[in-house]
Symmetry: C2
Subunit: 245 residues, 2 copies
């Protein structure tokens, strides 16, 4: 593990100087919350659970998924290092999906009423809204992908999305990033079979678009991959992000 990045909750907020004193107090309390740990490939939250606390994943990869009665499983979102994640669900009565780790993670727990405060704090609330709207846009784009793009486009699009999000989180150097997903994960996220994901990975490799070995993914031709996936990054609304050089 690398050194710990600052709490992602903070990274998503405006400059502290724009916050009221009350808001700064909230954040101080959050910064003081103890860091918890969970190993790779475990459930953090299960469908049907009732929650009294909220989670913020500080480090590591996770995913949301739903399982049908007969066992079919669909990953509906990837939660990347630095993403806010389970801040909101406890505002509803009951989990309607599960959340599992991909890698080991570090996270904090916040009591529910603290989140309710954050959500309606002026500057913090607005920032959380903006974050939520981007998450929503990503979810819409998955719908478009699975509904309209063919297998190759879908895989290319998914890799582009993850890459752009990782880059915005400062986790890309020289077009390379750590990439802990398995082909089976990608299959469950894109609605195809692991076998077919493999075929498409081969195809992207043979076209010279990506290098992927072990846990390292490198974009050999990012514009080409974007074209192959009909990927247009505007839905990520990253333009204003200062971390993009």
């Amino acid at each position: 593990m690398q050194d710990l990045p600052p709490n992602p909750l903070l990274a998503h907020l405006p400059d502290p100087s724009e916050l009221s004193e009350t808001e700064r107090d909230y954040l101080d309390m959050i910064a003081a919350a103890p860091l918890l740990t969970l190993g790779a490939r475990r459930d953090l939250l299960r469908d049907g659970e009732t929650l009294r606390t909220c989670h913020v994943i500080v480090q590591g990869w996770a995913c949301r998924y739903k399982t049908l009665e007969d066992g079919r499983r669909q990953i509906t979102a990837f939660v990347l290092p630095g993403d806010l994640c389970d801040l909101y669900p406890p505002l509803l009565a009951e989990m309607d999906h599960s959340l599992a780790t991909i890698t080991a993670i570090r996270y904090i727990e916040l009591p529910r009423d603290r989140v309710e405060q954050l959500v309606v704090a002026p500057a913090i609330g607005r920032a959380l809204w903006r974050d939520m709207l981007v998450t929503m846009a990503i979810q819409r784009e998955w719908t478009v992908s699975i509904g309209q793009r063919d297998a190759l486009e879908r895989l290319a699009h998914m890799l582009c999305e993850l890459f752009f999000r990782l880059r915005a989180a400062g986790l890309v150097r020289d077009d390379r990033c750590e990439f802990p997903l398995t082909q089976t994960d990608l299959a469950e996220a894109t609605g195809m079979t692991p076998v077919h994901v493999n075929r498409m990975v081969q195809e992207l490799r043979s076209r010279g678009l990506i290098y992927w070995k072990g846990r390292v993914l490198e974009m050999l031709d990012l514009p080409g991959l974007c074209r192959a996936g009909l990927f247009n990054p505007t839905y990520l609304h990253q333009s204003a992000d200062p971390r993009l050089a």
Copy 2:
């Protein structure tokens, strides 16, 4: 058109007595906003537009959609009468999808800064958050449907979802509702072709699950349709809704 329901923004909020005076003032101003009209099958907002106002659809059906460069089109959500709809997008810089009417609609426009106030008003903000989380849950469920359910299940699931939402909005009587979607709409929403939607509609009819003619849809066997679609309504988080008898 039937008589006008109250502004859906109000329907989604807690009892007015729980609101502060400031919040009640906000709502009064909203109630006073003039009602605008737009005909069926028109774009209300287009991908790429920059917005300075927000919209609340008071009456009628609409949908969100995205179009790929080569014309493939995916409907990503249906906005039903009474749903909040475009309250939030203007918090982001630019539309990343389009919004089109299905039927003629009535709507109001709110200036952007008014929405920013609403969103962080204590009681109103919390209610809007809850609404947003349900919308998000629906979007996740679409991902699951398109990713994992087969054509028949997908169609059945979509009909169940729309039916439950319409029922919560008070638009169902005796298991019947007005249903202005075409089979092509359903095709664009479920990621299949109109031809195949038609085959699946025939199948649901021949199993005695639905009656659908003109603009009327009737559930002849709702439990059966739920089973056919592997539909579990918990993700709609309707249990607490007082309008469900």
